[in-house]
């Protein structure tokens, strides 16, 4: 699916090495993402592995999240290849992760599924935002704006995977370039 490139709303702030067990604990991996009601349920468990001192991520009564933007530090998404991780974020209603760097498989799964944009920040944004701050991410201009004071932070261009992201995921991309039939 192709997503809006201007994302506005409150941010959920995390730091370094947010692993896939935090993103979606293994006890929920019995849910199959391609079954629609289980996809939705995965969203309600997004970031359920965080210590209880963190505010609940998917805190809306319907199991979705009030935070469309997730901010992280280095090595976001490290650990397992479970595609349930980006899917849980996307199913909860998050549209973009902005982190200093990503673990390879998580980044790839974000791109392949088209569930969330995995964008790299130039600077350590987890020190510039706190959970609940309003922000606007502009994926075309490569910026994130802190709406309380209008401060603009640069994002890195998405790079070689841009065509896959623009197409809306691996299958859409492969069809667009004729790798597989329409």
């Amino acid at each position: 699916m192709s997503k809006a490139k201007l994302i506005r709303g409150p941010v959920y702030v995390l730091e370094d090495n947010i692993d896939t067990d935090l993103l979606i604990p293994a006890c929920y991996l019995n849910l199959v993402p391609t079954i629609p009601e289980e996809y939705k349920k995965l969203g309600s468990y997004a970031l359920a592995g965080l210590p209880d001192s963190f505010p609940k991520f998917a805190s809306n009564p319907d199991g979705s999240t009030p935070y469309p933007i997730v901010i992280g530090g280095r090595n976001f998404g490290c650990g397992s290849s479970r595609e349930h991780a980006p899917i849980a974020l996307g199913a909860a209603g998050a549209s973009v992760v902005v982190a200093q760097s990503y673990a390879r498989i998580f980044f790839r799964n974000c791109v392949a599924t088209g569930e969330v944009f995995p964008i790299e920040s130039e600077t350590r944004l987890c020190k510039e935002f706190k959970t609940g701050d309003e922000a606007e991410v502009n994926i075309e201009a490569n910026t994130v704006t802190r709406l309380s004071d209008g401060k603009i932070f640069p994002l890195k261009p998405i790079g070689a995977v841009a065509p896959v992201i623009d197409a809306g995921g691996m299958f859409a991309y492969a069809r667009a370039i004729g790798m597989i039939k329409k």
Binding site: N17, D19, D21, L22, P25, A26, C27, L29, N30, L31, V32, P33, T34, I35, G49, L50, P51, D52, R74, N75, C78, G79, S80, S81, R82, E83, H84, S101, Y102, A103, R104, I105, R108, N109, A112, T113, A160, V164, G169, M170, F171, A174, M179, I180
Partner: protein, 429 residues
């Protein structure tokens, strides 16, 4: 070119590839299991149609292993999804739980079954698919969408990784194992020190390691962020592979002048047993510096530390001794489970050694508590347990409870700790 580049070049039809190239690579094997298989099948059917056929029946291996011994209804439903798909597609390599063909942990079973061959490509819906580079294959973990894509096309878009070379020389000291070597390396380069890279392990100390110990090293490459771990095949590799498959293969090797991104050198004779403290695999400390850590549970199992040689190491220390704390033994596969009976130290089977030492009843093979899992999973933590484990990850909540703490260690250190009840350097026994 490096061995990684050469394999990717051959499987993409190119004569030369360079790090950073994005290329379509043929999949030699697609591996999946019960946790990611149903989602992969779902994507395959959604994208290619209900009547679509897999790209090559001979190249798909399905090894359920994660949630096998549980009352969880969805876990059983998921295995039923695999069964239905295997039947519909007539797939030959499905190792069904509850039948004699069941094996257990996929990354220990895949080479055991002869599905890993030097010079080939393996993609698997599990991050520890990097294990199989130990036999000179390019092997990497992927998500369901990429796996569904491979299921239909036999190909995957791959970015060629730059190579980090780790040269390990010197004689292995007593009670040091491959697990210590890889924990040392991850501790040094950190959990993102190899992100997007190939980790190539070489040197006389690697050559001296058994195939199983080489698997332990490559298994944890992903804990440093690597795309793949790889070891050049040698006679040990060929003997292991040829005993398990008749399929032909063509090994590849790094050129002497291959361009690499960085080289790290180790003299293993100077290394000591280590643990990775909570909650990251790079949180390295010498085992002897953690003597004051009281432990409530020892876990020996998983694709990292549940192979036959892991249990031989543990049994060497547990023989004639008693465990002081709850000690859990989970053989990775049926083959390993049988090995506990057939392998003897001074006439006593490993199983008898463990039972005499007072371990918990030995669990049947599966991933079990390595990744927590359903609430009734064997060995899963439920409170503030302090665990010393031969597994691969010690993230918060990894083994179940967010309040438990996991120290990663070698089978020697785990067994020594089981005997003492505090973290123990195995040389101190």
């Amino acid at each position: 070119m490096t061995i990684t580049e050469k394999i990717l070049a051959r499987e993409s039809g190119a004569s030369i590839v360079q790090p950073g190239d994005n290329i379509w690579v043929n999949a030699g094997i697609l591996l999946t299991h019960d946790v990611c298989g149903p989602g992969t099948i779902g994507i395959f059917q959604q994208e290619f149609g209900k009547d679509a056929k897999v790209f090559d029946r001979e190249k798909i291996v399905i090894l359920p292993d994660h949630y096998i011994y549980t009352a969880d209804v969805k876990a059983h439903r998921n295995i039923d999804i695999l069964r239905a798909f295997v039947k519909e597609q007539n797939l030959p390599y499905f190792y069904d739980p509850g039948t004699p063909s069941y094996c257990g942990v996929c990354h220990v079973a895949l080479p055991e079954l002869g599905h890993v061959r030097p010079g080939e490509t393996i993609f698997g819906t599990d991050s520890h698919t990097c294990t199989h580079g130990a036999l000179g294959a390019f092997s990497s973990g992927i998500g369901n969408t990429d796996a569904g894509f491979i299921m239909g096309t036999g190909k995957l878009l791959v970015k060629v990784p730059p190579t980090l070379r780790f040269v390990l020389d010197g004689k292995m000291p007593s009670y040091l194992s491959a697990k210590d070597l890889i924990l040392h390396i991850i501790g040094d380069i950190t959990v993102d020190g190899a992100t997007y890279c190939a980790m190539e392990f070489t040197g006389s100390a690697i050559e001296a390691l058994s195939i199983e110990e080489r698997c332990t090293i490559c298994n944890m490459a992903v804990e440093a962020g690597a795309k793949n771990g790889i070891i050049a095949p040698d006679q040990k590799t060929f003997d292991y592979v040829n005993a398990r498959t008749k399929k032909p293969y063509e090994p590849l090797y790094s050129d002497r002048d291959a361009k690499i991104q960085a080289e790290y050198r180790y003299d293993v004779s100077k290394l000591e047993p280590v643990v990775a403290k909570p909650h990251l695999p790079d949180n390295k400390a010498l085992a002897r510096d953690c003597r004051d850590v009281k432990v409530t549970q020892v876990y020996i199992g998983s694709c990292t530390g549940g192979k036959l040689e892991d249990f031989i190491m543990a049994a060497q220390l547990l023989k004639g001794r008693k465990v002081a704390i709850k000690t859990l033994i989970v053989p990775a596969t049926r083959h390993v489970e049988q090995g506990l009976i057939d392998t003897k130290i001074d006439g006593q089977s490993l199983r008898a050694i463990f039972e005499a030492a007072g371990v918990e009843p030995i669990a049947p093979p599966s991933c079990a508590a390595c990744l927590g899992g359903p609430i009734d999973t064997f060995g899963r933590t439920h409170g503030n347990e302090v665990v010393v484990s031969t597994t691969n990850r010690n993230f918060i909540g990894r083994m179940g409870s967010k309040d438990s703490q996991v120290y990663l260690a070698s089978p020697y250190t785990a067994a020594a700790t089981a005997i003492k009840g505090t973290i123990t350097d195995p040389r101190d026994l």
